[in-house]
């Protein structure tokens, strides 16, 4: 029994209600709840490190009838990442919204988004996951519409309808699971699932719903417009956290619950879709004319990498070989979370200062906004996968393991994707360092520029140099003799 697991969900929810009833002090509610949520996420992580996993039966109702909250290395790592990104973005948002109405609309929805995200990461019950997935989707759609431009509204409507179809497919799968096995608790289910048609159909339905939500190619069509037209703090959270929540569920279902029902072909199919996403997303990012659209397409590509990990992961022998790939996968997801939120926040500063984010007209940005440009460059390093970023180590491990299990196909995909990523990041930097007007005081917008820079530093330096700790945190007991950080 550990009541700690309630707080990462309860604190943002309380903050959201406070921000709703007290809009003039909403900034304080937002920052306070974010700081408190980060603190308890740290406590959860520390507890997970001591005990490997935590479980809480809410209200004392044991799983079966009641709903369990669970945390292990994977969920605690993502929880910590999301509450850190959320705090940095919240500080950024205090300076971003100048319109009092938008500000009053932003905070309750924002904290609700964080509540839903944390509840999803800690849920141990399939139906509860469906509810949190819907909560997350609705809060995300409302936030994406905050820009109130026609393009933003159209993108939000499409985001909503596509997302609803995804959650209905997921819900149908949940119904089939209950019909076949009579339980929705994931750890009970893990012992009962067998390789049979009911499990395959249920997993196929749930996975296809989640693929829509995680925007895997070719279901990515809704993402670029929704992410690029939202206000900067919202884009950051949508790209860095919300999309990843759906991927986290795919990972949970495939690795923990339905692992006995899977053949290698299924994971190979997701890997191929991921490979297409890497190439197509990177190419579209390279061709994008606007900075935020570039960042959104880059998310499509980076989600692709996460799915390329799956076939390699499932083909690796259980034990140390698989643990190494799994750690690399989590490292990649964490690094992308920090890097992409930093990139979107930086793009938001550029957009606000210049009044546009057309890449070809970014000249002078490096002189006018040196800190933001530095942050964009650091985030770019993590997006490409250059050392010392976490992505570099993750991609290295992915390629090494792909060679080990004989899946050579992924090597040229990863190489081409990284090359294209290099091209699109340096295209932005090339224009930013070009001639142009506007030499302002350095760090004119400290409350917006510093959070973006800090997130980028975490992605590039902290996660890269401290990668060993990520590995040993998500796979306790792994012998890390072979890894040189």
């Amino acid at each position: 029994m550990n009541n700690l697991l309630i707080w990462p969900v309860a604190l943002p929810l309380i903050g959201s209600l406070l921000a709703l009833v007290w809009p003039r002090r909403a900034d304080w509610a937002g920052i306070g709840a974010s700081v408190a949520a980060l603190a308890v996420a740290g406590l959860v992580a520390a507890d997970v490190m001591r005990h490997d996993s935590l479980e809480l039966a809410i209200g004392g109702w044991t799983p079966g009838l009641g709903i369990a909250l669970r945390a292990d290395g994977l969920s605690a790592a993502l929880l910590l990442m999301s509450s850190l990104v959320a705090l940095a973005t919240a500080i950024y948002a205090t300076n971003y919204f100048t319109d009092a109405h938008k500000r009053a609309d932003f905070w309750p929805l924002w904290l609700l988004l964080i509540t839903a995200l944390h509840a999803l990461l800690l849920s141990g019950d399939l139906f509860n996951i469906y509810v949190t997935l819907e909560l997350l989707g609705l809060a995300a759609v409302a936030l994406a519409a905050l820009g109130r431009t026609r393009a933003a509204l159209q993108a939000a409507v499409r985001y909503l309808t596509v997302g609803l179809l995804g959650s209905l497919a997921f819900l149908t799968g949940v119904g089939l699971v209950y019909a076949a096995y009579g339980t929705l608790d994931m750890s009970t289910l893990a012992g009962q699932v067998r390789a049979e048609p009911a499990a395959w159909v249920a997993l196929a339905l749930m996975t296809s719903g989640l693929l829509i939500k995680s925007a895997l190619f070719p279901m990515h069509f809704w993402l670029p417009s929704a992410h690029a037209n939202a206000p900067a703090p919202v884009s950051a959270a949508l790209s860095a956290l919300v999309v990843k929540a759906a991927f986290y569920l795919v990972l949970r279902l495939w690795l923990d619950v339905f692992d006995v029902a899977l053949g290698p072909a299924a994971a190979g199919m997701l890997g191929v879709l991921g490979a297409f996403a890497v190439i197509w997303g990177s190419w579209k990012a390279f061709r994008a004319e606007r900075l935020k659209l570039l960042a959104a397409y880059s998310t499509v590509a980076q989600i692709g990498y996460l799915f390329v990990f799956l076939p390699v992961l499932l083909a690796s022998a259980p034990g140390a070989a698989r643990d190494l790939v799994f750690g690399a996968l989590v490292l990649f997801a964490l690094t992308h979370g920090f890097a992409k939120s930093a990139f979107f926040l930086g793009a938001g500063v550029v957009l606000q200062r210049a009044g546009h984010d057309r890449i070809a007209e970014l000249g002078g940005t490096a002189r006018a906004l040196p800190v933001t440009t530095f942050g964009l460059a650091l985030a770019g390093i993590a997006l490409i996968g250059l050392p010392p970023s976490g992505t570099f180590l993750a991609k290295w491990q992915l390629m090494a393991s792909a060679i080990e299990v004989g899946q050579w196909l992924w090597i040229p995909v990863i190489a081409a994707g990284s090359l294209l990523a290099g091209a699109y990041v340096f295209r932005v930097l090339g224009h930013a360092f070009g001639p142009g007007e506007g030499v302002g005081p350095a760090l004119a917008w400290a409350r917006q520029e510093l959070p973006a820079l800090l997130l980028a530093v975490v992605a590039t330096a902290v996660l890269g140099l401290g990668a060993v700790h990520v590995w040993s945190f998500v796979v306790p007991g792994l012998a890390i003799g072979g890894i040189q950080p």
């Binding site: 139906f127 469906y130 509810v131 819907e134 609705l138 759609v141 409302a142 519409a145 109130r148 431009t149 026609r150 509204l153 159209q154 939000a156 409507v157 909503l160 309808t161 609803l164 179809l165 209905l168 819900l171 149908t172 949940v174 119904g175 209950y178 019909a179």
Partner: protein, 96 residues
């Protein structure tokens, strides 16, 4: 004659398919919102027919799927409300 739960279940699958088709093919937002609700009704009908399966063994149907359907309906109503609100705002922005 098929047993009742199979008829209900297949009807649910049929509704889901019809709704899915209309959601993907219709251009008008209102039609798509309605189609998604038809889709949802199909899923809920499947849940209800799942509950009937134990009827031979138990005197009452399994209450858990019914509770899930209630939650699902609440979610569907809120999502529909959000979609309608967005649609209205979209129309206002077109009028300006």
């Amino acid at each position: 004659m098929l047993p009742a739960e199979i008829i209900f279940g297949l009807t649910g699958v049929g509704l889901f398919t019809l709704g899915l088709r209309a959601t993907l093919l219709h251009g008008s937002l209102l039609a798509r919102i309605l189609a998604i609700n038809v889709c949802g009704a199909g899923v809920f009908l499947m849940f209800v027919s799942i509950a009937y399966q134990g009827a031979a063994a138990m005197p009452v149907p399994d209450p858990v799927p019914h509770a899930l359907v209630l939650t699902g309906i609440v979610v569907a109503v809120s999502a529909t409300a959000l979609a309608l609100a967005l649609g209205r705002r979209l129309r206002e922005s077109a009028d300006e």
